[in-house]
């Protein structure tokens, strides 16, 4: 049984990738566990440029607050000669991860300035990451900002980063674009090596007791896979970039569906948070069993077999599917 796949120009032993998530990858032992459990690659949790800036400002503010005001306490903290306010910790983490595992280690970057995107990308490359995923998590709440401007920002970032590094670069995309296919094409034209579909935007909730907005993270459910499944199926064969499926992939069937839709890899997060990183082994085993039962010899065989270009009824991925769905639905 050949489970290998290619992603971002790399050959992976299987299409199961541990997704970018802090609790999953902040400990090297977990990354090792992922490898031992059969992961084809890992994406490290994101380096947030914004967080680094906030941390630096907070540090400055807290170490100066209340100083030089009262004769007995002219300061409240010792003043170390050096701080690690840059991405050193993250870079060291990449190095440790690389030293600990043989599978590809993909870094993840969430910047907030062009300078930040490129500089950190360069440092991530130097730290030894095999590839870089750009997590452009941005809620454009400015009513005067046009969709075109938002989209252009994505292009500017990918161009800048690609100009700065030689390692493969993928973009983790939001599903909220007027025309995702167009976005994908333009990113592809900008030489993005991969597209991850999709970034899950955490939606706020209201706490009725405290009347406060709470982040309340909801883990994905298997139903979440429908959206990336559709777009991967539409994009497969139409872009050069590798496609990674993210959101709602919980078991072997989900993985297989995504591969058939055209994903090069599938990224698992919620399922691993729920069942533990060792769940990868179960998914891999179940996947192999299904393939065996259905007489598939390799992942390559099924790759894109149900994409829009290869499937029997391409209209099912577009409006026709919607029409059929709403006209045939009857409550149980």
């Amino acid at each position: 049984m050949d489970l290998t796949t290619t992603y971002l120009g790399m050959t992976l032993r299987n299409p199961l990738v541990m997704s970018a998530c802090q609790p999953l990858s902040e400990e090297i032992s977990n990354i090792k566990l992922a490898e031992d459990s059969g992961a084809g690659a890992v994406v490290l949790y994101s380096l947030f440029e914004e967080q680094l800036l906030t941390d630096a400002q907070e540090l400055h503010s807290h170490t100066t607050a209340g100083t030089e005001s009262f004769a007995e306490s002219l300061s409240y903290f010792p003043e170390p000669s050096q701080y690690h306010l840059g991405p050193e910790g993250y870079l060291k983490h990449i190095q440790k991860a690389k030293a600990a595992v043989t599978i590809p280690v993909i870094a993840s970057l969430n910047g907030c300035s062009i300078g930040g995107w490129t500089e950190f990308a360069r440092q991530i490359e130097q730290a030894g990451a095999d590839a870089l995923e750009l997590n452009i998590y941005w809620i454009p709440a400015d009513m005067n900002l046009s969709g075109a401007q938002v989209e252009q920002t994505y292009m500017d970032i990918i161009k800048a980063v690609k100009g700065a590094v030689k390692i493969p670069v993928s973009v983790k995309l939001s599903a909220r674009f007027t025309n995702i296919a167009n976005m994908a094409k333009r990113l592809d034209d900008c030489c993005a090596d991969g597209l991850t579909l999709f970034s899950r935007f955490y939606q706020p909730d209201i706490d009725l007791d405290s009347l406060e907005i709470k982040p309340r993270i909801l883990l994905s459910t298997p139903q979440s896979l429908r959206l990336p499944l559709r777009w991967i199926a539409i994009l497969h064969g139409r872009v050069k970039a590798s496609l990674a499926a993210s959101s709602g992939i919980h078991n072997a069937e989900d993985v297989i569906k995504m591969l058939m839709a055209g994903a090069n890899v599938t990224m698992l997060c919620s399922a691993l948070l729920k069942h533990g990183i060792g769940h990868l082994r179960t998914v891999e085993r179940d996947m192999a069993r299904w393939m065996e039962e259905h007489e598939y010899e390799s992942v390559k065989q099924m790759w894109g077999s149900m994409s829009q270009v290869e499937c029997p009824d391409p209209g099912e991925f577009e409006r026709a599917q919607y029409l059929r769905a709403v006209t045939t639905y009857r409550p149980a």
Binding site: L52, L53, D55, A56, Q57, E58, L59, H60, S61, H62, T63, T64, A65, G66, T67, E68, S69, F70, A71, E72, S73, L74, S75, Y76, F77, P78, E79, P80, S81, Q82, Y83, H84, L85, G86, E88, G89, L211, E212
Partner: protein, 1202 residues
């Protein structure tokens, strides 16, 4: 030889620089003003700084100065080079060991930033009271007078002690030298190595205790030999002066700065000479140079080596022409024949057969100003046939008439010196910018530079005054600037209260940060400021620095903007060069804090000049606005005439007669200050309010209060006075009204009340029942409302259900408007105690934050109720507070017992009913206390009548009973302080007091660091926290004080955190006070030293409890007596990982930035600590107790290790 550099630094750093490089073991403990020496030592060592022999010294913080000196003694005995740093009471705690160290002829140097010793009052400021208290210990005493000398003498002392074997106390003036920033030539490691003969180090090692060549020291001796062995050291003391001079000579040859045991400066044919030690010598030196140029025959002997006092060298230092000598002592020794230096000089003259007219005088106690004018007054006195002896100078002693008159207008400052004054707020970064300016000028030009900084007595809204001098010659002016070329006012609020331009020279420059345009600004100045500008023909510049700073991303920190203005206007450096230097300095200073911080400062520099405008000064004054009075007009005479003058910075002018001679001050005086420091202040929304009382409870300054009152009382309410129907069912049915009123003029604007408010506006959830709004427009209206509110009657305390916060918070706080930091985490507890028990409360307060915000002049926050009752308060020391408070209890109980005996004896005369009532009164609640007070009042009436009768026995008993009758009413003894006291320096006493079981209440406000001295580690500091003396993160866990206290079994112990559960705090306070035995409340107090947003400090408390970092519990021995488990664990299982809480506070988060690996390890250990500790407490609280306990119990979890 490496090249010496000129660097600007303060005296403490200059000394520590040498001490750390020439020692191996350094024991430290914080005390102002010496703490920074220990802080430098700890920091440098944490950064692997090696001493001159190539090894990193070992630095250890001890539990007290007594501990530090013990550790030094031990290190010395085992052959290390060891030193310590201290001052004041700290030095006094070292005295017993100093005798030992000297008696054993052990070389060491203690570096002391000399500070006065608390007597009638504590003072952190400089004089020689502390060092003079040690002159009998057998230590050599070497005094340095300036930052450069402090640096040099640190090394000379080290060299001399090693050769002489006499330990050296090297001292310099606290603050004036320890905190003065000056340009000095810094000694190199080669200099230090050249000065110290390693043979003496080896000799010291050879004398050490070692099992390889064992000896014994510290024997107990008998009358037969003690005397002889004590005299055996004489030759070492005889040799010490020569050895010291030899070291000075070697230093002079090496470095080029000559020093002598006694240095004379002045006219070679001087007839009048001053003898003095310390920074005052620099001023005297300057004055004498001036006077000699004027033809005066005057001179000065600077005493360097005070002990051993070399009489011959002293006399030899005096020119033969000298006829009269004034010896100035910076200390007071009441009852002596004269102060110490004076007596030594007299002895020297007598023994050396020199006939001189010698008088002595006291000067500059506790950093009182010592100016050339005062020097001249001393010389003028010496002109008299019979000069005044035992004089004081610099004050007006209108009681015993000791003082010499002086003319303050006499000045000697060189016209070549450029001097500047900067008035800023602590929060705006003024001092930091000025220190930076000194660095720029001192280190990049040939100019000499000096900076001295005067701070406020309050911790919130504090004014700082920076005194800067620059000039081509070394600066000896160790006094404040009073003739400035440049004055900058960084905050317009100062204009309302102070004559900002009192100290500017004619033709000088005035720079004002103001929100008004150059055209408008003139009309906003008060009359006195306009007058000064016109009369002195000043150039006047203005800038809206707040706007420039905000636009540059700097928030309210206007330091960089104002610094640029200073350089642009003052002309000290060419403008472009200055700006280049500022930018370089910004990159150097802030580079490690990230590019963003650098860029915003650089942006501020670039944005400044275009916003700086010169104001066209009108020819005449147009303003009628007068300065605001320092206190309100309704203040009592003492407050107006004494405390008000202190507030107005005119305290120096008050005469001796203005004060009580025993240090007594009235309470309840903060109410007259009306500091108006809040930019924003809370505004109450009655419609949204649920009347829960939480806002009032957390307010650190008692500025937000609630009242319930009869509706009819609103008849004369001011128009803007707000009220609403009371919600409490009992008051609602009687139609009562409820009001939350804010004292906007006293509020600091911290916002804790808004943050804690649980009630949200139904239509705009961003609004609560209290919301912050700009203070100035509200000031007048709310002042009227506040007065009306105060005049409304308090709710009868007997009617209040004190276990319910909404009702309890209606109790009047008897602790109000303190100078604590805005958002202080300690004061809400203090205030709560004052509300509950204030009318019968007597407080022993350990030195620390609480003694400063509670007792620092000018005004006192401890207040009185309308009956005139309120907390009585005293601060004894840092280390003895528990014992001091227990003394209260012993005394009160004794007097009560005696009063009861007298009541029994007088029962036939005062009536059995009254006597029985007095003797059997149940005073467990407010009603019981109220009734007893009525009985005591009745008793006093009867006793007064008995005093008029002829029955001598009854008359005598009545007189005695009248003096102590008030003791029949319950007195609540409270012993308060911080964790530095309770966990460290005062722990032994605290332990003893709780073990004694007397009815005292100990309140430990646990900020987990020595907050008052700037955040040094205590044993309460949690694992992983960065603190001073724990620059690398504290590796050890927090001491579990509560668990130790519980082990006695008869101590009430509670661990509380108001922000986590306020009702639990309230319950603990009530239970503790009601327990007839020792009670210990350990109260989590968030603090500015935690590096948190003080507005949301209560959220940090909540998170600390949610993570299990802080446990809530109560241990009540009364439960054990009833067969119940005395421990109630009131914390639930932790709901968040501790890291989530730790990362909310800079003290922990900073470690992730300075040492990420250590942070990871220590944070994990912190989580393990919590898991273990919680399991242990769960076990203790759940185990069957008393009769329910079975003999075979499972083994408890292991007690958590500290």
């Amino acid at each position: 030889m490496s090249k010496r550099e000129f660097i600007t630094m303060d005296g403490n750093e200059a000394v520590a620089h040498v001490a750390v490089r020439t020692n191996e073991v350094i024991a430290i403990y914080p005390i102002t003003p010496s703490s920074p020496m220990g802080e430098w030592a700890d920091q440098w060592v944490s950064e692997d700084l090696k001493n001159i022999w190539g090894t990193i010294p070992s630095v250890a913080e001890m539990q007290s100065e007594g501990g530090a000196v013990g550790a030094v003694h031990g290190a010395l005995q085992t052959g290390s080079l060891s030193c310590t740093f201290t001052a004041s009471q700290g030095l006094l705690l070292m005295i017993p060991n100093m005798y030992k160290i000297a008696g054993e002829l052990t070389p060491s140097v203690f570096h002391v930033s000399a500070r006065t010793v608390a007597a009638h009052a504590l003072s952190i400021f400089g004089d020689h009271g502390d060092v003079m208290s040690t002159r009998q210990c057998g230590w050599a005493m070497l005094c340095s007078n300036s930052v450069q000398e402090a640096h040099d003498f640190a090394l000379i002392a080290q060299a001399a002690t090693l050769e002489s074997r006499v330990p050296f106390l090297h001292f310099f003036d606290g603050f004036r030298t320890s905190h003065e920033v000056a340009k000095i030539e810094v000694l190199t490691d080669d200099d230090m190595r050249a000065m110290i003969d390693y043979q003496h180090v080896l000799a010291h090692r050879a004398r050490c205790l070692s099992p390889d060549h064992p000896v014994l020291r510290g024997t107990a001796q008998n009358p037969d030999v003690f005397f002889q062995t004590r005299e055996a050291c004489n030759k070492f003391y005889a040799a010490c002066p020569d050895i010291t001079q030899k070291a000075m000579d070697k230093f002079a040859k090496l470095v080029g700065r000559p020093y002598h045991l006694f240095d004379y400066v002045g006219a070679p044919d001087a007839e009048r000479v001053i003898v003095a030690m310390g920074s005052g010598c620099e001023t005297a030196h300057e004055a004498i140079e001036y006077m000699v140029k004027q033809g005066e025959k005057v001179g000065l002997v600077k005493v360097r080596l005070f002990r051993p006092f070399d009489t011959k060298r002293f006399i030899a230092a005096l020119p033969a022409s000298v006829k009269a000598v004034a010896v100035l002592d910076r200390t007071k020794e009441p009852g002596s024949a004269g102060e110490p230096l004076y007596q030594d000089c007299l002895t020297a003259a007598f023994e050396e057969g020199r006939a001189l007219k010698i008088v002595g005088g006291r000067y500059a106690l506790a950093s009182k100003e010592f100016t050339p004018a005062i020097v001249k007054a001393v010389f003028d006195n010496l002109k008299a046939d019979r000069p005044k002896n035992h004089f004081t100078v610099g004050i007006n002693d209108d009681v015993t008439h000791t003082n010499l008159p002086f003319d303050p207008s006499f000045t000697t400052e060189s016209p070549k010196v450029v001097s500047a004054l900067f008035y800023g707020l602590g929060a705006d970064g003024t001092v930091g910018a000025n220190k930076n300016s000194i660095k720029i000028i001192g280190e990049n030009t040939d100019n000499w530079a000096q900076g001295y900084f005067v701070y406020d007595s309050k911790k919130s809204g504090a004014m700082t005054v920076s005194h800067l001098r620059f000039g081509p010659d070394p600066i000896r002016s160790t006094y404040l600037v009073t003739e400035a070329n440049f004055v900058a006012c960084h905050q317009t609020v100062f204009l309302e209260r102070y004559d900002m331009l009192q100290y500017v020279k004619p033709g000088g420059v005035f720079l004002l940060n103001a929100p008004w345009s150059a055209e408008e600004v003139w009309n906003h100045l008060p009359r006195v400021t306009q007058q000064q500008i016109v009369d002195k023909k000043l150039r006047f510049f203005t800038i809206d620095a707040v706007k420039v700073a905000r636009d540059s991303g700097m928030g309210g920190r206007i330091n960089t903007v104002m610094q640029v203005c200073f350089f642009a206007i003052s002309g000290v450096l060419p403008k472009d060069e200055a700006i280049e230097q500022i930018k370089y300095s910004i990159k150097k200073t802030y580079g490690k804090k990230g590019d963003d911080v650098v860029q915003m400062n650089l942006k501020a520099v670039d944005n400044t000049l275009s916003n700086l405008h010169e104001v066209k000064v009108p020819a005449a004054v147009s303003s009628n606005a007068e300065l605001l009075p320092p206190v309100t007009s309704n203040a009592p005479a003492f407050v107006r005439e004494v405390l008000g003058e202190i507030s107005a910075n005119r305290g120096d002018l008050l005469p001796v007669s203005a004060f009580q001679p025993d240090g007594t001050f009235p309470t309840a005086t903060t109410q007259y200050e009306k500091r108006n420091i809040a930019l924003d202040t809370p505004v109450w929304d009655p419609a949204t309010c649920i009347q829960c009382g939480k806002c009032a409870m957390v307010c650190p300054h008692a500025c937000i209060r609630g009242k319930v009152y009869e509706a009819a009382l609103l008849a004369n309410a001011p128009a803007a006075f707000k009220s609403v129907d009371a919600r409490d069912p009992e008051w609602k049915k009687s139609g009562c009204k409820f009001t939350i009123q804010v004292a906007v003029e006293d509020c600091t604007g911290c916002g804790l009340c808004v943050d804690i408010c649980p009630a949200k506006n139904k239509t705009q959830t961003k609004l609560k029942a209290i919301n912050m709004a700009p203070q100035p427009p509200l000031r007048r209206q709310e002042a009227v409302n506040w007065d009306f509110f105060l005049a409304l009657p308090d709710v009868d305390r007997r009617r209040l259900k004190v276990t319910s916060i909404p009702q309890q918070q209606l109790q009047r706080p008897l602790f109000e408007f303190s100078g604590a930091c805005g958002g202080c985490g300690e004061t809400p507890y203090v205030k709560l105690a004052s509300q509950l028990f204030g009318d019968r409360m007597i407080i022993a307060n350990a030195t620390g934050c609480s003694s400063i915000y509670g007792g620092n002049l000018p005004t006192t926050p401890w207040a009185t109720n309308p009956d005139g009752r309120g907390p009585a308060w005293c601060n004894s020391l840092f280390e003895d507070n528990a014992e001091f408070g227990m003394g209260y209890r012993l005394s009160i109980d004794k007097q009560k017992q005696f009063a009861e005996e007298l009541v029994r004896a007088l029962a036939p005369r005062i009536g059995d009913v009254l006597a029985t009532g007095l003797l059997t009164a149940d005073q467990k609640d407010e009603a019981g206390i109220y009734e007893q007070r009525i009985r005591v009042a009745e008793l006093k009436g009867k006793l007064a009548r008995l005093q008029q009768e002829n029955d001598a026995t009854a008359k005598s008993l009545a007189t005695q009973l009248l003096g102590i009758a008030d003791m029949l009413v319950k007195k609540s003894v409270w012993i308060m302080g911080g964790d530095g006291w309770a966990y460290d320096i005062g722990y032994g006493g605290l332990d003893h007091v709780i073990a004694c079981g007397r009815n005292v209440n100990l309140l430990v406000m646990d900020t987990e660091v020595y907050s008052n001295t700037g955040g040094q580690m205590s044993k309460a500091t949690p694992r992983g926290a960065i603190a001073k003396f724990a620059a690398g993160g504290k590796p050890a866990g927090k001491k579990d004080l509560g668990l130790i206290a519980m082990s006695y079994g008869n101590v009430y112990v509670a661990s509380v955190a108001m922000g986590a559960r306020d009702e639990h705090t309230l319950r603990a306070f009530l239970e503790a006070e009601s327990y007839d035995g020792a009670s210990l409340i350990i109260a989590y107090s968030h603090c500015i030293a935690h590096g948190i947003n003080m507005t949301t400090g209560m959220q940090n408390q909540k998170a600390a409890v949610a993570s299990g970092q802080w446990l809530l519990y109560r241990y009540d021995p009364r439960r054990a007596a009833a067969g119940q488990n005395p421990l109630q664990l009131d914390s639930r299982k932790p709901t968040i990982p501790v890291e989530q809480y730790l990362l909310m506070e800079n003290r922990f988060k900073m470690l992730t930035k300075s040492n990420p690996e250590a942070a990871k390890t220590l944070f994990k250990q912190a989580q393990d600590d919590i898991n273990t500790r919680f399991a242990y407490y769960e076990y203790l609280a759940a185990r069957p107790f008393g009769a329910a306990a079975k003999p075979e119990q499972p083994l408890p979890p292991a007690a958590p290790a500290a």
